[in-house]
Symmetry: C2
């Protein structure tokens, strides 16, 4: 009932009558009043006026299960949501839930991660109340070697959602960092559990620096938040819904060909490395060239000599711009 009342309050421009809520849910005035108090405790500013009813005065950045459920409306992405105020890592939670049978499209959201991880076990800073950490669980029906490209599908989705919701230009640093004004605002960690030739499940973990104001000195030159770049606070649940919506659309394009054929152009538009000099840190030997976009498999196309293109696979190497982070 809390989720429904929250949705009604948000969607109504006028006051919502207490009696109407009682009738609608078949509960007493006291029950409605209790829900309003719970919402206020969670941080919502709700005005109650005699003979008019209740009105949501401000739409603060609350991250709660009710808020998420009242925000998320997609065909499948996020139809099952888990929310933790604090957890170790949403990827680990999602993998556990996957083992227990959680369905395709399940989303695990946390306000704070105690053991947030980046790629290859690196630590990901995850304080509370400011950022969003979530993991999307997928159960694809295609071959494991196709799944690595899903991390690029998510990168594109985050970039589109950030641009659509947060009044900033978002770029992608290949393969899957999201950057605003040359600094990183989002990291993505894709993991999957496979048997030979068969994907059991994929989890895509996303951490977005939304409303964080202070960064540790060692990363202040390379990391930023949407708040710092746009000079405004953004409601995280709304941004999450926007990412999930974009992902759903992009994933359905991905499924047509099981690769990035139908979204690589859109991805390349966001590619901050595009047409810039990059150094490819290949363990077999570093080399330099000019990034020219990606192919359908998600590999970075690097022109090392005139008309000579090397296809760089994300798993093996990393790519650095010659000037600055991107």
């Amino acid at each position: 009932m809390k989720t429904e009342i929250l949705t009604l309050l948000r969607e109504s421009e006028d006051y919502v009558s207490g009696q109407e809520l009682c009738n609608r849910f078949g509960v007493s005035r006291t029950a409605v009043w209790k829900v309003m108090n719970q919402l206020k405790e969670e941080g919502y500013v709700i005005e109650a006026v005699q003979n008019k009813g209740y009105k949501l005065k401000e739409n603060p950045d609350v991250l709660s299960l009710s808020e998420l459920k009242s925000r998320i409306h997609n065909r499948w992405a996020g139809n099952t949501v888990y929310f933790y105020e604090e957890t170790g890592s949403t990827n680990i939670d999602a993998k556990r839930l996957a083992e227990e049978g959680a369905p395709h499209g399940t989303v695990v959201v946390a306000d704070k991660q105690n053991a947030g991880r980046g790629r290859r076990g690196r630590v990901w800073q995850s304080p509370s109340g400011k950022d969003i950490y979530f993991t999307l669980l997928l159960r694809p029906d295609f071959e494991p070697d196709k799944a690595a490209a899903l991390t690029l599908v998510m990168a594109l989705s985050v970039a589109q959602a950030v641009e659509g919701s947060c009044a900033v230009q978002a770029g992608i640093k290949w393969p899957n960092d999201i950057v605003v004004n040359g600094k990183k605002v989002c990291g993505i960690l894709t993991e999957m559990n496979v048997e030979p030739g068969y994907i059991q499940y994929v989890v895509i973990g996303v951490g977005i620096n939304v409303n964080l104001e202070d960064f540790p000195e060692e990363i202040v030159k390379t990391a930023t938040s949407l708040l710092l770049e746009s000079k405004a606070e953004w409601p995280r649940a709304e941004l999450l819904q926007s990412v999930l919506k974009c992902f759903e659309d992009n994933y359905e394009k991905f499924l047509r060909t099981h690769d990035l054929t139908d979204i690589k152009e859109e991805y390349t538009k966001h590619l901050v490395n595009c047409n810039r000099e990059v150094r490819v840190l290949d363990p077999k030997g570093e080399f330099e060239g000019i990034a020219r976009g990606i192919n359908a498999a998600g590999e970075l196309l690097v022109e090392t000599e005139k008309d000579k293109i090397v296809e760089v696979y994300a798993g093996e190497v990393s790519v650095r711009g010659l000037y600055g982070y991107v």
Copy 2:
């Protein structure tokens, strides 16, 4: 101390003096006596003779942590052991332990599985006291696409161990079933957790029908146990040690080339399908041919016409003999 005492008893042909044990471990006679009682409760038959000491009279098929620790002696395989009398699935346990940082070579053993699984989520019968279910955790340093072949490395290791320990001929039904006299005695389920281009860990689950006497009617024609085929009971912990030892040797050969180059000949010797007609159940179209062995990637080589070899990848298809299970 229990494990050490058990090892001493097993390795000593003569009686082991109680006083010697007291001196060795710096404990009282009562403490030694208590350990002997614990071992008796676990099923060991221990004779105690005044002025001579203790002697292990029989070596029964006990599966316990002490038994496992006293049996397993390898360079790395099984140096960390977890034992559960009953668990859902040792693969799920091993994956959880891997997430918590368990080292390469960790082994999870169960006497009974409540939710044992075969490939693609199929149920694996796992009653107690008769069979062995274990999962080996690996943390390889090579590319994910190399790891599918590890399931064949384990198949070979089980076949070698069964032949070495249990007085029967063991064959391999490609890719990873172990058969004795044409019936299945062992199944293997390999899973891995990967990031694009990077293996976090691999778990290889193995279920061996060791001392089971009765099979459900629906599988009695295709499944058997080592007891039924050899007319003898086999100590499961000893068999496990033998499998781990073989795996260690085979894995080290695998690491030389990151494929089966150095063990494919040995594998092919055990291949029951070899030089027989098989039907390849490829979702893209079934076909028949004669199995001719495997290549270094672990693919089955099927001769469809004179000198025309099709390489069959395990993940996508299954292979059936035209006559009977193998």
